[in-house]
């Protein structure tokens, strides 16, 4: 039988160390909604989402009450809209209408976010996909809960540099259209290399075409729990360090697994995956950077940061895969700047630069995430940053992403406040040298030699 110590340990994790389940995300396929008539398409999309997810929030709250574990977000991911709406949309305005339909449906079922206003263009763009991408700035400025993502490359296809160039422009336009809210629109927009089909985290969640009609994916959290565990083994060897992270990751993931199974059973929707990510929040003590500091760094960004992060990421996976047979999504440590108190501190004191963050993305999940940059950063420079990050993902056969926010009207030295889970961030300096001639070249970067495994 469960003993006193175990019960106290679990409840201490919840009460004092910010253990929570970050999200239950319901993936919903919209492929069967495809229609050449825009009105009919919108009503089918709306009905399918509302019918599928009507009970999602209520069920999440019930599970939360039953086990005494906070479930912070309930979200929806849908089939990339460019695959569903290609026949019906003739203009960017048509796509904006679909984004509004998604937003209405998300509000109706009271979820926190809906992802999937997306296009997968890692090798080339169809006219429908290009139109969707061009509609993103307006779509994000006119909706509240919709998130957009674009997959620009993969290890098997190479990098679509035409789309990379276009996205530099789209980031700037999105920032411009939401400048009255500190360019918040860009916080809901992410570009990927090797985008996973089953990611439950925003802004990059979409329901891949390889997925079932509906699916439940769960994202766990818990950087504070790992940090607290490490406090008790100060100065011990790497072996002890790894063991501790692994055991903690196991426990955290098991909670995610339990919630996923319960949600699946109660909603009568098959369980997909648990995403093992350590996802920080701006709350004190819920920081991935603090884990790195606990390992022995003065600040995140100090020499040794990449090694510490590599170790952390690997041990989280090793502990997590033991806890759930189906892991997926992004699974690893997230390093968003604005959403992590320790990262914010490191960026403010100059310990952390974009270049160091780029190195860190080579060894952890996701990529350059929630980084505020000066509003006058050139489109081509943003494209250059994106291209670098896509190259890291392509060559290392891993997922990488970019979610940068060029904050219009602000520069280095200013701070930007996004609010809620998105936090706040100092504007970080960007390398001022030019790359426009490089990113203006047409076509794509071919897939690397080691992708030819057939």
């Amino acid at each position: 039988m469960i003993n006193f110590r175990e019960v106290s340990e679990t409840n201490k994790m919840i009460d004092q160390e910010n253990l929570d389940v970050r999200t239950i995300t319901m993936g919903i396929s919209l492929l069967d909604c495809a229609d050449a008539d825009l009105d009919r398409l919108c009503s089918k999309i709306h009905d399918k989402i509302v019918q599928s997810a009507r009970e999602l929030v209520k069920t999440g709250e019930e599970i939360s009450a039953d086990f005494g574990i906070p479930i912070v977000n309930k979200r929806i991911s849908v089939t990339p809209i460019s695959l569903v709406a290609g026949a019906a949309c003739r203009s960017t305005g048509d796509y904006v209408r679909i984004a509004k339909t998604l937003d209405e449906a998300a509000h109706e079922v009271h979820v926190n976010f809906l992802g999937g206003f997306s296009a997968l263009v890692s090798k080339g763009m169809t006219p429908a996909e290009e139109l969707l991408i061009r509609s993103i700035p307006e779509a994000l400025s006119q909706t509240e809960l919709v998130c957009a993502s674009v997959c620009l490359g993969s290890t098997r296809t190479g990098i679509n540099m035409d789309a990379v160039r276009l996205m530099g422009k789209i980031f700037k336009q999105t920032a411009e259209l939401t400048k009255d809210k500190d360019s918040l629109g860009c916080a809901k927009l992410v570009v990927f290399c090797n985008a996973p089909d089953d990611n439950p985290f925003m802004a990059g969640a979409f329901h891949g075409v390889t997925e079932a009609d509906r699916i439940i994916n769960v994202g766990v959290s818990g950087p504070g729990v790992v940090k607290t565990a490490l406090e008790s083994i100060h100065g011990e060897s790497f072996e002890v360090l790894c063991e501790t992270v692994k055991k903690t990751a196991f426990k955290v993931t098991r909670v995610g697994m339990l919630v996923a199974q319960e949600a699946s059973k109660r909603l009568h929707v098959p369980f997909g995956i648990v995403d093992l990510s350590l996802a920080p929040t701006p709350a004190i003590g819920d920081s991935v950077a603090d884990i790195l500091c606990e390992m022995g760094l003065e600040q995140a960004g100090a020499p040794g940061t990449t090694a510490a992060l590599a170790l952390l990421n690997d041990q989280v996976k090793k502990g997590g895969v033991m806890a759930s047979s189906y892991v997926g999504g992004l699974s690893g440590a997230f390093i968003p700047v604005s959403e992590d108190q320790g990262m914010i501190r490191a960026a403010e004191c100059g310990a952390l630069t974009i270049e160091k963050l780029e190195a860190m993305t080579c060894v952890c999940s996701v990529g350059l995430d929630m980084i505020a940059i000066p509003g006058d950063t050139k489109e081509t420079t943003i494209s250059g940053i994106i291209a670098d990050e896509m190259a890291i993902g392509m060559v290392n056969a891993k997922t990488t992403a970019v979610r940068v926010i060029p904050v219009i009207g602000k520069g280095v030295g200013d701070t930007v406040e996004f609010g809620g889970l998105l936090g706040y961030a100092p504007i970080m300096p960007v390398n001022r040298y030019d790359c426009s001639e490089f990113v203006s070249r047409k076509g794509r970067i071919p897939a690397p030699i080691h992708s030819f495994k057939n």
């Binding site: 019960v7 039953d66 086990f67 339990l258």
Partner: protein, 91 residues
């Protein structure tokens, strides 16, 4: 059998267990195990209970217990289904 764990934390006072047990008896919840310690005047208790015969929804019962703890006794009472502890601590 459906089990839940009730934990009580707070300043020690007269009648904590009595009040909780009265509530449990009224709601047909059977107590399987109780362990309790007092550290520096602070009361810590864990109960394993059987909720198979409970009539109301689990969330109603657990919210009522929390309310009794806050308003009538001045302690924090939490009731959670057993599975969360099993998942975390048992392979």
């Amino acid at each position: 059998m459906k089990k839940a764990i009730i934990t009580v934390v707070g300043k020690d006072t007269v009648g904590i267990i009595a009040r909780i047990c009265t509530y449990l008896a009224e709601h047909r919840i059977n107590i399987l195990d109780i362990s309790q310690t007092i550290v520096d005047g602070y009361f810590n208790m864990m109960m394993v209970v059987d909720i198979s015969a409970l009539q109301e929804p689990f969330s109603t019962m657990s919210a009522e217990l929390t309310r009794i703890g806050e308003q009538k006794i001045g302690v924090q009472i939490r009731c959670q289904k057993e599975e969360i502890f099993d998942s975390m601590h048992r392979i």
